[in-house]
């Protein structure tokens, strides 16, 4: 396929300044403008007209709440937290800018620098996207690793299990725990009501008449009141006879203080 000629590209300028082209067509026109002063002049002349179209619309006052939302959103973003100008491409751009100035561009050099700033931002966006991609990969790895740990508990021939029943505070709740001395504790529950503000669920292992043990085994439920989670248990844990879930202050406690929500005994 041959690239479009001057006449074709010139005919597209109107659509170009309105952004009414596909990305590929936009790129072709942009490349043409770089080499055709005649078309570039026309594009410049009508770009201002296209920009002015916004003023043909009647202004409408937005709901007052939006202003507040904008201002609270930015209060949490201090000036320092804004996207900073750093990264390995910067020296290149700086070099390009100085070359442009050195080439005798003068005032255009200043505009060029503005353009470079725009490109820097696009590069930053690209980097942010790359970082977001890496974050997602890390999250996926964590999820996979977690699933693997959960499977390893199930696969242990010595796994013990306990079914927990909802108590007066949550009669519809139920849970199941699978415990392997070498691989940890897999806990899954459903129909748990959301704990009151400032409170959290905490899991306890009961071992005969000794005080209940909880190594900070706190958990949150999702919107449907369900949870599936893994806890590490010390290999020296005394043989458990039962398990309970209580509601405790955020962060958990060293000994249960709240009412029991779920209780069960090992078989």
């Amino acid at each position: 396929m041959t690239s479009p000629d001057h006449e074709e590209l010139r005919a597209r300028i109107g659509a170009y300044v309105l952004g009414a082209l596909t990305p590929a067509e936009m790129a072709e026109v942009r490349a043409h403008l770089a080499g055709c002063p005649e078309c570039a002049a026309e594009a410049r002349a009508i770009q201002a007209v296209a920009d002015a179209l916004a003023w043909s619309v009647e202004p409408i006052d937005p709901p007052a709440a939006i202003r507040q939302r904008v201002l609270s959103a930015v209060t949490s973003t201090t000036a320092r937290q804004r996207v900073q100008t750093r990264g390995s491409w910067l020296p290149w751009l700086a070099a390009a800018a100085s070359l442009a100035v050195a080439a005798g561009l003068g005032a255009d050099g200043v505009r060029l620098r503005g353009r470079i700033q725009t490109l820097e931002l696009q590069l930053r966006d690209a980097l942010v996207q790359v970082q977001a991609g890496e974050r997602r990969t890390t999250q996926a790895r964590l999820v996979a690793a977690n699933a693997e740990r959960q499977l390893s508990v199930l696969a242990d021939p010595d796994v013990a299990h306990v079914d927990l029943k909802g108590q007066a505070a949550a009669p519809r709740a139920s849970a199941r725990a699978l415990w392997s001395r070498s691989r940890g504790l897999l806990f899954t529950a459903s129909n748990l009501p959301a704990p009151p503000a400032g409170r959290t669920y905490q899991l306890w292992i009961i071992s005969g008449r000794a005080a209940p043990i909880s190594n900070g085994w706190i958990f949150k439920t999702d919107a449907t009141g369900s949870v599936t989670t893994m806890f590490d248990t010390p290999t020296t844990l005394p043989a458990p006879t039962g398990m309970a879930v209580t509601i405790e202050p955020d962060g958990g406690t060293t000994a249960p203080t709240g009412a029991m929500t779920l209780v069960g005994s090992f078989k």
């Binding site: 009414a20 596909t22 007209v49 619309v57 202003r67 353009r115």
Partner: protein, 219 residues
């Protein structure tokens, strides 16, 4: 992706070096849609925003949210979408204020650019687009129960200029600008040859340019 950006950078440098033009393009001073006094006041606000002054953002909001909300409603048709994008526009104005370059245009034009890009992106990516195209109205403005901000001189100028334009040109230009339709989509929608669409858009914009120049110089 990075390759594309580099190509774009090279093209920009080539444009600037061989033709001494700026990209994107600015309003020549005599044709500015805002008086230079308003532009200066806006530019001062942007300067304070760069410095982290939240009150300046509030002022910029008070000065332009009506214009932008009108534009967003016109493009998106859905109030909820328009409200969300309006919020995004000003949050972006806050986080990216340092990218505003006054040699490239007024702060109002900068905000309009952000708003339109975001709105068209949203139109193109969500199903709202279909609804919008179905409900598209010619160039009439949306009837709304709430109070309109006052119509300024420049709004009347642009509205007058659009009204003078032959309807077949106006129709294509407004659908491209407010509905984000590409020239091929316009050809299909209006059952016109692609060449006709191109010619009408380009002729219309050149005519508008003449009209706006006259009307603004007359003032």
């Amino acid at each position: 992706m990075l390759d594309e950006l580099w190509t774009e950078l090279e093209i920009s440098i080539a444009i600037a070096m061989t033709h001494r033009i700026d990209v994107p393009l600015m309003y020549p001073p005599r044709r500015q849609m805002q008086t230079s006094e308003e532009t200066r006041a806006d530019a001062a606000l942007v300067g304070r925003i760069v410095g982290g002054d939240e009150r300046a953002l509030g002022e910029l909001y008070d000065r332009h949210s009506g214009l932008l909300f009108g534009l967003l409603l016109r493009i998106l048709k859905q109030r909820g979408d328009a409200e969300e994008v309006l919020q995004e526009v000003f949050v972006q104005a806050w986080t990216r204020a340092d990218t505003y370059n006054e040699t490239l245009g007024s702060p109002a034009a900068w905000l309009i650019g952000i708003a339109r890009n975001r709105a068209i992106d949203r139109l193109r990516t969500n199903a709202a687009r279909l609804r919008a195209v179905e409900q598209t109205m010619p160039s009439a403005s949306i009837e709304t129960p709430e109070t309109s901000a006052s119509t300024s001189e420049k709004q009347r100028d642009v509205q007058r200029a659009l009204a003078v334009l032959p309807p077949e040109q106006r129709e294509l230009i407004t659908h491209a600008y407010f509905d984000g339709l590409t020239q091929s989509e316009l050809a299909e929608r209006f059952n016109l040859p692609l060449g006709t669409v191109k010619t009408r858009i380009r002729t219309g914009l050149l005519t508008l340019r003449g009209l706006l120049q006259r009307s603004l110089i007359k003032q």
